[in-house]
């Protein structure tokens, strides 16, 4: 096959998967709920990292594709009463296509202008969700999503999420470590040089954006069913900022970093909310730490610690 995952990483993945699969045994509804949510956010952050970590662009509007996936799935399941097997893939397709459309325009630009345009498009998606009340429910939200019977229940839904997120992550991992993924890293590392080895860098960046959008759509589609509702806020910029912070906190130069960042930030927020009303300050301090101390995130920190312990300096 040629897909060789480092053994340490593979081992960790298996341990995490087994541990997750055993969670329902603990008989804690709370644990099941937060695990489900963390898995969704982890996939969301992993998808964003295809743009940031692999193609080297910054998207300030990634929540748009999460929301498109969520709304499409919810509307098809509920309003049109379509089966999941139709609605879910359609939702993923919709977010992927929307991302491809936006990428067509955004990839003309680079750096901060690219980021600003992604933000502008995301605001447009938000405005549509907000204004198109007859379809999306506007800012009342699209509440009361029909969830297919076979996953209508805490434990079945947990396993549905686990399987979907695991498969999606596996596919994402393959994409990121494929010939495409490796070339994408070259584009990130040196876009000019990448052009001079014969790579159409604009098309590459666009493809990465579309892939990321589609996988964000998967996360969004799951989340809509989990919450039995989709809300305009899921397309709003703070949501994009949050997933960006998750990605950077974990470490954008590592495939699994964003998933770790998602889990860390999610848990931190949950627990902080029980003890302080100043979560923004906590988040601000986390950001300062990332910027000033941990530019390569938690994974970067882990690598540094490991290097020091093994090699010594």
């Amino acid at each position: 096959m040629g897909w060789n995952m480092p053994r340490g990483v593979l081992f960790t993945c298996i341990v995490v998967l087994v541990a997750l699969a055993l969670i329902p045994m603990a008989d804690s509804r709370y644990l099941i709920d937060i695990s489900t949510e963390i898995m969704v956010y982890a996939l969301f952050a992993l998808s964003l990292n295809v743009i940031i970590g692999y193609s080297g662009n910054v998207s300030f509007g990634h929540a748009a594709y999460f929301a498109i996936g969520g709304y499409t799935n919810a509307i098809l399941l509920t309003t049109y009463e379509l089966p999941l097997i139709v609605a879910f893939p359609a939702a993923v397709l919709a977010s992927g296509l929307a991302a491809a459309f936006v990428a067509y325009f955004c990839t003309r630009l680079t750096d901060i202008y690219f980021a600003m345009l992604t933000l502008a498009f995301a605001m447009l998606v938000w405005a549509i969700a907000f204004k198109w009340r007859s379809v999306t429910g506007g800012d009342d939200g699209f509440v009361g999503v029909t969830v297919p019977e076979f996953i209508d229940g805490r434990v079945p839904f947990f396993y549905f999420t686990l399987i979907t997120v695991t498969l999606s992550t596996a596919v994402l991992w393959m994409i990121c470590h494929s010939a495409f993924g490796q070339t994408l890293v070259a584009v990130r590392e040196n876009i000019t040089r990448a052009g001079f080895i014969g790579v159409n860098t604009r098309l590459m960046r666009g493809a990465a954006f579309a892939v990321a959008g589609a996988f964000a759509g998967i996360a969004g589609a799951i989340f809509a069913m989990y919450n039995r509702g989709v809300y305009t806020e899921s397309a709003f910029w703070p949501e994009s900022a949050q997933v960006l912070i998750m990605t950077l906190l974990g470490g954008m130069y590592s495939f699994f970093g964003p998933a770790i960042g998602a889990a860390a930030l999610y848990l931190l927020e949950r627990f902080a909310n029980e003890y302080t009303e100043y979560w923004p300050t906590v988040l601000g301090v986390i950001l300062l730490v990332i910027v000033l101390v941990l530019p390569e995130g938690l994974v970067g920190l882990f690598k540094r610690v490991k290097a020091r312990m093994v090699g010594g300096r």
Binding site: G138, E233, S234, Y275, T276
Partner: protein
Amino acid sequence: MRPTLRTTVAAAALVAASASLAQAEIKIGVLYPIAGNGAVYGTPAMHGHNMGVDEVNAAGGILGQKVVSFARDTKLKPAAAAAAAKELITKEGVDVLIGGLSSAVGLAISEVARQEGIVYIATIPKTIQMTTTKLHKHVFRTSSHTDFEGDAIGQIVNKLGKNKVCDIQLDYAYGHDLAAGIEKGLAKHAPNAKKVIDLRSKLGATDYNAQITQILGSGCDVVTSVLWGSHFVNFAQQAKPFGLFDKVTYISGGEIASHEIAGKMGKDYPDNVISNTYELWYDHSFPGHEKFQADLAKRSGKKETAMWPVLSYTGVKFIAAAAAKSGSMDADKLAAALEGLTIDTPVGERTIDPKTHQANTGQFWGPMVKKDGVDYRVMNPVTFYPATLD
């Protein structure tokens, strides 16, 4: 200093730790925007809530058990509120949910309550969907709703004898719902009134010049609106130099007659405003209000209290009464007891309609006028509009 989430939780945890050994307890999950930008509502709401809980406990608790609250911040975001509601149910094991503020947050909590089979008392959200299209057996609303508000506005327009109406609303769920409520109210009570112009501003808008000048240009004699909170403050400050309040009567929902707006605006509060509120600290129209007010003032540390506490307080009292009636905290039994339940509140009797799960929570309406000796406006005369659509 206002009690923070931390102290509330710490207190609850202490109580829980000491009580859990001795006896079982009734757990209430409370969802208000305690932190962040919504704290202007959440903090006073928590005062009322805690006061209600303390009174219930002082009277022997619910079914002989102590009542403990678990408060969570909704961040004014529906998904965050839903996650918090789930956590309260699955981790803390609360028996009942209470609270909510915006329409979306209320509906999101209601959806969790439906899934988990837990009673939810919506104390502030006004969206009409809550008790119509999205109604389920476990959701109850003890606040007013937009059709009541619109109906009152229709009656006031009729009483004023004005018939050229400008409507300005915020472009979001509450604004849309109230605009529809006003349409109905006008059609019913003031059939001669004609809508001259419909204007919408976005939520959080800061510049109203374009709307103000359109109102002035359209020649209407009454403005109906729901620019609440800072929206109203900004609108009023910008409209005054244009002389808008000399030319039209400004009738507003959104409780801008409450003292937290009138008190802070002081002499800047404009003329010719008729608005509503759930409660006024200086108005003792109903028995028991004076004591309620005095107790509340002790908690908030100032005698001019906000109007939100009465809503959260009433919600707690409904739970206690329903539990006493059913003799159980079982969700289905509690829900059955809430249907048709009547209790006494500091602002009058309240009954929950067994069919719609909507309490007949009326509001005080009246013109905001200057009063000798005080540097803010007060409502005078105060008229109570009961929550009936007949």
